[in-house]
Every structure is written in structure tokens, then in C-alpha cells.
Amino acid sequence: MDVKNFTDENLAVFIQDNNGKGFEELIDRFEKPLLRYAFRLSGDMDMSEDIVQESFIAAYKNINSFDSKRKFSSWIYRITHNFAVNNIKKHSKIVPFENDQIKDERNRISEKGLEMDLEKDREMLENNLNLLAVKYKEIIVLRYFEDKSYDEISDICHIPINTVGVRISRGLKILKDKIGSKNG
């Protein structure tokens, strides 16, 4: 049976029914998006790799808790989100990185074949993401970089849909104010 043609949800059910068989395909599908997401949240590639590895291990252990009526990508993003937020809290003393460091990390990401073809405003947004508190940053990353819907963000962050909207508009406003004051 070729698992490559399965939808994410069907693949997860296949893994549940076959005691882990097919998990490799799941890693192939989600490694890059999750790495990108974790990197945008943490700003540290080494930490992001650890977060993603831990996430896949947790996903494997808990695959039987996945409900096939729900979206698989939201489920696995939720796991990564939890690990990322915990790691960020643990390493909250990390000094925001300089632009050169961002470039180095980007080079490392492109080594992995990740595409970071962002539009100009997205780049501006990305460079200033660290000005935001995690609770706003996570939502803005999911919305503008991972193209997730409000409903999916609600599933990933475990917050009501209304709160997603409020945090997006508040986060963007804070960002605008901070960029404005930074530029004088």
C-alpha cells in the first residue's frame, strides 16, 4: 500500500492501525513546515531542531490520541507549539539575535531545502517578530507565515476563535507602534 497518496488524516489512522508503520512518511511531510514554525517562534535553529524532534517523538507516542475527525496538521502543530512555548520560556533570557545571526540561521535553513520566499512586508514582519510577546508572536506566525485559518489557529493554540482575532489585531498594532518608535 502506497501511503504517499494518503491524506494526512488517513495516514495518521493507518499509523494507528499498523502500530507505527508509515510514520516515516509523516516525518517527510511535516519536518520542514514544523522546523520553519519552531524557528520563527524561537529564533534559534538548534532549539528548533530539538523542538521538532521532541514533537515527532511525542506525536509517535500519542498517535492513538489523534481523532481522525479533526485536522491532523493542527494536531501536530499543537504538539510543536507546546514544546516551542515551553522551550522559549525556559530560555527566556536569550538576547534577541542580530541581523547577521538571522542570515546565518537562514543559510542553515536553506541547507535543509526550506523555502523562505517571503514577500517584502512579510520580511519586515519577520525581522521584527521578536519585539512581540510569545502569545502574539505565535498567532501572527501561524496566520501570516503558515497560512493557517482562524479555526486552525484556535485548535493549535487552544484558544477561542474570537481570541485569535483579538490577538492578531492587537499584535499587529503593538508591532506597528514598536516599529514606529524604533524608526523614530
Binding site: E24, I27, D28, Q53, F56, K61, N62, N64, S65, P160
Partner: protein
């Protein structure tokens, strides 16, 4: 040097260092949480019943308005009810997919519903019937003495 995440994970799986948790474990967690929510909600209704019944029995509703009731209000019971609802809401949001709804909405809706059901029970006459049973009578006395404290005694002294 880029870390080979996939290889490292697959090696761990092959070595048996990482194992899939059985489905029954997750069913146990889900049903356990649902069971706890039901138990907490039912207990909160019982306490809400006493929250209304104790002041009613002491004549709070025969008096003049809310001030009278407030002087008999068993605040400890109210705190217990609120704690029970808080735990239930947390369980619901954490284990039963309740995160889509606002915490405040679920909390206040549950609080109002439980107090209303408790009040209906308190005025239904069920407590008076239960008090005919000596064991229940003891339990009711214990509730009155512990949750309203010395107010009853003061009241009795006042009307002596």
C-alpha cells in the same frame, strides 16, 4: 552540521526507546475527565441546594429582602461551588475540546445554571423529606453549623 531529525527518530523507534501508548490509555483519560466533570457538577448542585436551603430554613426569605438573605448566606459553600466549577471548566477545556469557548462564558453559565438548579431543589421540598431520615438530619445540622456558623445561635438568642 545539520541534524538528521528523521534518522534519529527512526533509530529510537527501531531500538524500542519510543513506544506508542495504547488507545485504551487515552480512552481512560477522556472518560476519567468526563466522569470527574459529572461528579463535580452533581456535587456542586447538591451544595448549591444547601446554599439556598440553609438560609431559607433559617427564615432568610421571610424577612425583608436581599440584606436579610446576605446575613445568612453560607459563603463557604459558595467558595466550594466556585472551586468545583473552576476545576470542571479546566477539565472540560483541557481534555474535552472545550477550548473553543470562552472560559468566562463557560464559568458564568455553569455557575448560574448550578445555582438555579440548586434553588429549584431547595424550594421543591426534597430537603424537608430527606430530613425525616435521622442520618440526613445529622448531615443537614452539620452543614448548618459549619457553613453558617454561630449565626443560627445568635438568631435563636435574639428570638428567645
Amino acid at each position: 552540521m545539520v541534524k538528521d531529525i528523521k534518522k534519529e527518530i527512526l533509530v529510537k523507534i527501531e531500538k524500542g526507546e519510543v513506544k506508542i501508548k495504547p488507545k485504551r490509555w487515552f480512552h481512560f483519560i477522556k472518560f476519567g475527565a468526563a466522569f470527574l466533570i459529572i461528579i463535580l457538577a452533581l456535587s456542586a448542585v447538591v451544595f448549591a441546594n444547601y446554599f439556598v436551603y440553609i438560609p431559607k430554613k433559617m427564615g432568610a426569605f421571610r424577612g425583608s429582602g436581599i440584606g436579610m438573605y446576605a446575613s445568612y448566606m453560607p459563603f463557604v459553600l459558595l467558595v466550594i461551588i466556585i472551586l468545583m466549577i473552576l476545576i470542571s471548566v479546566w477539565l472540560y477545556k483541557e481534555f474535552e475540546g472545550g477550548y473553543k469557548k470562552s472560559f468566562y462564558f463557560i464559568f458564568f453559565a455553569s455557575l448560574v445554571a448550578i445555582i438555579v438548579i440548586g434553588a429549584v431543589l431547595a424550594f421543591s421540598g426534597i430537603n424537608e423529606k430527606l430530613e425525616r431520615n435521622p442520618q440526613m438530619r445529622k448531615f443537614h445540622d452539620w452543614q448548618e453549623n459549619n457553613f453558617v456558623g454561630g449565626r443560627q445561635n445568635r438568631q435563636n438568642q435574639l428570638y428567645k
